[in-house]
Amino acid sequence: MTTLPIDNTIEDPLHRPPLVLNHDNFTSVTEEICHVNESPKPPMAWYVTLGIAGALAGMLGVLIMYLIVTGVGVWGNQNPVMWGFPIVNFVFWVGIGHAGTLISAILFLFRQRWRTAINRFAEAMTIFAVICAGMFPGIHIGRVWVAYWLFPIPNQMDMWPQFRSPLLWDVFAVGTYFTVSLLFWYVGMIPDLATLRDRASNRIKAIAYGFFSLGWRGSTRHWHRYERAYLLLAALATPLVLSVHSVVSFDFAVAQLPGWHTTIFPPYFVAGAIFGGFAMVMTLAIPARELWGLKNFITMRHLENMNKIILLTGSIVGYAYAMEFFIAWYSAAPYEGFAFINRASGQHWWAYAIMITCNVVAPQLFWSKRLRTNLWVMFVVVMMVNIGMWFERFVIVLSLEQDFLPSSWAYFKPTWVDLGMLAGSFGLFLTLFLLFIRYLPVIAIAEVKAIMPEANPHPHGHGAGHGPDHGVGDTEVDA
């Protein structure tokens, strides 16, 4: 698997390029993907990264204990920046979390067959990112031991959460989203879990994979039910993604604070989530395909497609920045105007500069095909997007810094606990992800097979209409 003999990024309107390279039968596909789980030893890099990520995750656990024992004062939060890193991290992770299911479900509804190589990745990423996200508001409430008060549970004190608060909507939105995403991920994985079960080399694996594959036998009836369920979950997940990130944007936009209160927030946050999410998928996919030899499935064309989407969504985010700025001036509201000028030239101007450089300027490199098909260039750009999207939330949250009362203005500084928890959340995320790669089917085996030309035999070879991208027998939404 050193070099690829086929360049499937060549644009030829007459032929759809192949999306699975160097395979002409299903057995070899199964072999190659299952090898990730079945090889006796994962690559050395896996141990090293797991070690580092695990250590960071452990540090996160220690820091959370320290926080609970001491109080939220260990964070840099102050008045008026009552929400500092915890909300920045929450929105950052929940944005990445939203992208996974969005990528998977929306590309499914749009019949993008190249999704099959990345959807499992993206969905797993969703689950782990939402776990990281959910943690931050959970530990921010002060009295963690009564976290269940977030839910409207009838109680003898007649105490209820504030139903008019978008933070409560978040509890419902994120909770629902997590549940549906988990189901979507799990249902999609059942046929592949059954494959691993059937190939299990020892009793423990056979029992574990057997338990989770729910007695899958691959009968026509099983497939029929499966396809139905998958389609319905995709159709359910799509509006959920939009609603969840919109609700997250409401956390800010319903307020009267200049810089937060603007009507474009819901779609802008959704676009930002896709943007950041694709960048995170790329961040994970580029090393993974190298380490585990998955280049036949996650081909250069897949990476190029994702880069194009990063360019597109980056442009949408840029559009939203421009609209905010234009309307801040157009509104003729002095506070609105101040908030935006202050963002760009105030005490945290450097954060704004990082945000614009990483989110708007860096993706412009992808206009060039040579650059967007170069692994190093794309890796650098997606890393910048990851950074830029974190800083975007930082910039938004820090609109609090200079509120309506100049006497309370101060410079927000994170503490070492803030920084440690941010690093720790990456550790938790990566730990979960590395375990996923090792123990679960990392590419949707059954779905990848369905997009190979072999899945769609045409004895008479008529027409170019049966290329790999769109052809007869697409699985597709009918709702």
Binding site: S246, F265, G465, H470
Partner: protein, 421 residues
């Protein structure tokens, strides 16, 4: 290359041009008579602006969707693409319909329509906006918008038709190369056109999502029109084998997704955030639309443009039944016309400044609906039908000689073989 009759409009084109164009002109003549009887020029121009925005959104949506096809290298839609291009090609002449408004602005009598043109009253906020909202720059922008739209729609139409003759894939490459830049140009021009021609009618009010809301409207207008165009052509015996129920279903899905659900989502975002924060600068626009007679109208839009079609279009059965989906398309066009009416007509009442409560204001408006611009008139309907007639005739004119499908597009066979299930 000889294309069979069912790929050409043939004798249908002159008939449509005569009938629709004639009916349009008659309706416009009636409108002018009604306007002269009414005697209020501003009132007429409000009505005209509604109609103009309505007929503009259809080809604008067509241009957007044509660009999307090339951006995504879509296969399924090729059989429909000529019709999209044909609808969009109207942008080459629609500037003519904009001239009356342009003349009104140049003549300096448009301050009833665009209050920011009124310099007699000292207004701090409008003075602040004057670098953007002034007659000269506004006219330059309008010329720029129409110029860009005409160029883009002509480019895609011309290249696509040229490919019919030679079958050269270079045309496909050329269109795909321009598509990303075209999309950026489209997004910016459409946004600022919405600001200029609809948002600036209430010049103190502002909303960052306004351009996106207008875009959602163009989706509704275009997908409905595309369904009706195909339906009409198939009734005339054209494209019977090429456009199948699969295509109907897909366009129906897009109408559901963008024209109904996305529209509702954006509209809700715009309403909810402003209602919740309750900042006086912003609520004015919504107060005009939620007090007095417009209140019912707003509810009508919410239920009629979102709730009902959401339920009706969610099943595949309605999308795969030609007559049913065509009926829904007509219904959605009516809803879209109401949406444009609702965007343009309501006025923010002066009474807002002295009202002691929302209740009192509501009562005051009820007693005099004209203060919020609620003055339904027959010319609203005739004007809209007039311009729509011209648009239909214009579409037939654009498509009169070319093939109705891109016969030698390299991906046509994909579109013909495409199935949903």
């Amino acid at each position: 290359m000889v294309t069979p009759d069912r790929h050409q409009l043939g004798a249908v084109a002159p008939r449509v041009i005569r009938l629709a164009g004639g009916a349009g002109l008659v309706a416009l003549a009636i409108t002018i008579v009604l306007a002269l009887v009414d005697g209020d020029a501003t009132r007429f121009f409000r009505s005209y602006l509604v109609a103009l925005l309505f007929v503009l959104t259809i080809p604008l949506g067509g241009l957007f969707f044509t660009i999307v096809q090339h951006l995504t290298r879509a296969g399924w839609s090729v059989a429909l693409r000529r019709l999209m291009e044909g609808l969009a090609a109207n942008l080459q002449w629609l500037w003519i319909l904009f001239i009356p408004i342009l003349v009104l602005v140049i003549s300096g009598r448009a301050d009833g329509l665009f209050p920011w043109l009124d310099h007699a009253h000292h207004d701090h906020a409008l003075e602040h906006k004057a670098p953007y909202l002034n007659a000269g720059f506004w006219i330059v922008r309008a010329i720029l918008f129409f110029g860009i739209w005409a160029f883009l729609s002509r480019f895609f139409f011309r290249n696509s038709v040229a490919q019919d003759a030679s079958g050269d894939v270079r045309y496909t490459h050329a269109m795909q190369r321009l598509a990303p830049v075209a999309m950026i140009m489209y997004a910016l021009t459409q946004t600022f056109a919405a600001f200029d021609w609809a948002m600036s009618l209430s010049p103190h009010w502002f909303s960052t999502i306004f351009g996106v809301y207008f875009f959602a409207g163009t989706c509704c207008a275009f997908f409905s029109s595309l369904i009706l165009l195909v339906f009409f052509l198939q009734r005339q015996g054209k494209l019977e084998n090429e456009v199948t129920l699969e295509h109907y279903q897909d366009v129906g899905k897009l109408l559901f997704g963008f024209g109904v659900a996305f529209w509702g989502y954006i509209g809700f975002s715009q309403f909810m955030l402003i209602w919740y924060a309750n900042i006086p600068e912003e609520t004015t626009w919504w107060i005009a639309r939620t007090q007095g007679p417009w209140r019912t109208f707003t509810w009508l839009l919410f239920i009629g443009h979102f709730c009902i079609p959401f339920v009706v279009l969610i099943t595949k059965h309605t999308k795969r039944h030609r007559i049913v989906i065509a009926g829904i398309a007509v219904y959605m066009l009516v809803m879209h016309a109401l949406d444009m009416y609702w965007l343009v007509m309501p006025l923010i009442p002066d009474a807002l400044h002295h009202a002691t409560s929302l209740q009192a204001l509501g009562n005051e408006i009820e007693s005099d609906p004209a203060m919020v611009g609620f003055t339904p008139h027959l010319m609203d309907v005739t004007c809209l039908l007039g311009l729509l007639g011209l648009l239909v005739a214009g579409t037939a004119y654009q498509l009169r000689r070319c093939s109705l499908i891109p016969v030698r597009d390299p991906r046509l066979s994909e579109s013909l073989a495409f199935e949903n299930m």
